[in-house]
Symmetry: none
Subunit: 400 residues, 2 copies
């Protein structure tokens, strides 16, 4: 679809406001006959569903299990098959690392190397403070090689982001990660001719780290994956004439939001803090994306009960969203994370759109099966943005 081209022409600035509430990993599969949504007590979501138009949204297309990147891009109206994002860039942006056009970034782990085997890919989950010291030490010791500057940015426990700055770098590299413990080290491999020099620089860096950290008992090697350069996406301001903001806790989602030009607002870790931040900043934006992570985390842990409770807790905030009187309120997810599978899945997202112009269907409970009977039917999530903009009165007629 030529959505991007069309929307530049037909989007228009209005005073109306859109709230997009993403309950990460919301969709599930039945355990003892019910999905997490079916088992949860959600009087507010159900009441809202009864006044909304509902459907099921496939994040990418049927059968595809998306990572958080493609799943979110799709929701924001960006074709996830066109804009392929490396995990490195998302992690970097989410950690607040500034990435320039020529920079190459990757996600890193400190790991334990013994007798030429990576015996612990997480270096015993070293404390964050130790990680910070290691990064500092490496940053002051590493020499610029062939004009390439290398900088490490500590994350939590064993995780870090590494940035290679300089000319001529390529992100066509395979992961330099054994993926499993007790395997030999794996070098980065060039996936194109142009990437040969970059592979050499990356592998030399990894060797140098081993040399520099040879006295460190646990964290004496690094693994790198998700090599990526800065992708250039048109901003939501440019495409949709929106002034958008994101309220999210986790680096990944903050990074994604920055990538499409959202302001990332400071918010705490808990739901009360998240929704307080929304209320505080609501007046300054016309599109606010609120990201709730705990539904997904519980699903990933296979904890049906915790996921059900996270849904129930989220449900209690619906009245506060409605009290803000947004012209459009959408409640959906980026992808499903059934507790049964303990992972992302390909199942579509329950989707609810509340606005004055919604043709209200018969759906009266916000569940997977009920949404499948909704007026929106089953659709690809990339249509969520056209729908939100349309219901907010922000799209002019296409064609004469």
């Amino acid at each position: 679809m030529d959505w991007e081209k069309i929307v530049r022409e037909i989007s228009t600035k209005t005073a109306s406001k859109i709230i997009l509430l993403v309950l990460d990993g919301l969709g599930g599969l039945p355990i003892q006959g019910e999905t997490e949504l079916e088992a949860a007590h959600t009087p507010n979501l159900d009441r809202l569903a009864a006044k909304s138009v509902c459907g099921l949204a496939d994040p990418v297309f049927m059968g595809i299990t998306p990572g958080s990147g493609p799943a979110h891009l799709s929701l924001f109206g960006y074709n996830p098959l066109k804009y392929l994002l490396g995990r490195g860039i998302l992690e970097a942006l989410g950690s607040g690392v500034e990435v320039a056009k020529n920079d190459l970034v990757a996600r890193g782990n400190f790991a334990t190397l013994r007798d030429n085997l990576i015996i612990d890919r997480r270096a015993g989950r070293i404390p964050t403070s130790e990680n910070e010291k290691l990064c500092q030490r490496l940053n002051s010791s590493l020499k610029s090689v062939e004009g390439i500057e290398i900088t490490l940015f500590p994350g939590k426990e064993h995780r870090f982001v590494v940035k290679f700055s300089g000319e001529g770098l390529s992100d066509a590299l395979s992961d330099a990660d054994s993926q499993k413990d007790n395997k030999p080290r794996v070098p980065a491999q060039a996936l194109s001719k142009e990437a040969a020099k970059t592979a050499q620089i990356v592998n030399d860096f990894m060797d140098e780290v081993i040399d520099l950290l040879k006295d460190s008992p646990r964290a004496n090697a690094v693994l790198l994956r998700g090599f990526s350069k800065h992708p250039s996406l048109p901003s939501m301001g440019e495409l949709y004439k929106l002034k958008p903001a994101a309220i999210a806790n986790y680096p990944m989602y903050k990074g994604l939001a920055r990538l499409v030009g959202m302001d990332v607002l400071t918010a705490g870790q808990s739901l009360p803090e998240l929704f307080a931040a929304l209320e505080k900043n609501y007046k300054d934006y016309d599109f606010i994306y609120v990201h709730v992570k705990k539904t997904d985390s519980a699903g990933e842990d296979g904890n049906f009960k915790a996921k059900k409770e996270a849904i129930e807790e989220s449900d209690t905030y619906i009245p506060r969203l409605l009290a803000l009187k947004p012209e459009v309120l959408v409640v959906t997810s980026d992808h499903s994370t059934p507790s049964l599978l303990k992972s992302h899945s390909w199942h579509p997202n329950p989707f609810l759109l509340f606005s004055k112009t919604s043709l209200v269907d018969k759906v009266s409970r916000f569940t997977e099966k009920e949404c499948s009977q909704g007026y929106l039917g089953r659709f690809q999530a990339i249509y969520a943005m056209p729908l939100m903009l349309a219901h907010a009165g922000k799209l002019k007629k296409f064609g004469a």
Copy 2:
């Protein structure tokens, strides 16, 4: 969609197995208030539907009546708008004719020519033995023209396949077939500049046949249609990392299966033989496509009762499929063949997917209308393959 590119990256080899049961021409239209599926007694399919996820699949897209080629390609996950197959190539492959990269093939009929009119396009449906003698005679008499070898392969009754072997042949030719009796002969016409020489060769061949068969009372001319060269499709092994097999009786379906790299297994003409072949070979493959033809044949004949009975007979084999315990069982069709229309139609295919990861919907009868209420909704059949692979756990996550 970039499905082909994506699936090469995310497909993964597993031990799980998929059975795809295609009841050819399954969907119908009501006669006396019920479709063939609605009129049929199908306790096993209904019980299975009640434990499955259901929907309606459009073979190509809404409104398009597909031939068997596009309809099957779509089911196998190949874009039917990208891979255009001539009927000739399918017939040739299905008849076991080896087609090399440069070869041009077409379907042929022996016909009766009198007073410059084709008075019988099927030459009175001559016996197969007579056809075989005619092909033998022509093969020994035809001279190689401009380095092009011409070979006829007899089929049943009046049908044959002709193969032109040599350099520089094009398949951009119109059918050399009057389509109706009592019409003058129609030459093949070049549909592009490059095809002019090929048209000449083909038309010279057809003239030569008339000369060679001038003493034959009925079969004294040939009609040719569906000119096609060998298309190169990536194999299912290459794309999906599957080891696929086809159990089918008819040349067309065997040919299609070979085209996408399936092993074509020997099976008899009856349903007992078909399912016995499945059971015998099940352990050696991870994807088995079973093709039942009689539902379609009955529909083409406009025989509502025979189609209903073919559905009922197929239904009795469902328990034997389930006894094999495949991780994924799909029952659907390639296209609809309503008895009312006596032909293929554009109506979508009832679709049922049984697996542990299916979100079971409320559909409890396997009919067109019930399937329209299923959780899969209405979708394009090209998504059947992503769904089957996903439910079989054969697709990794897309993107980070």
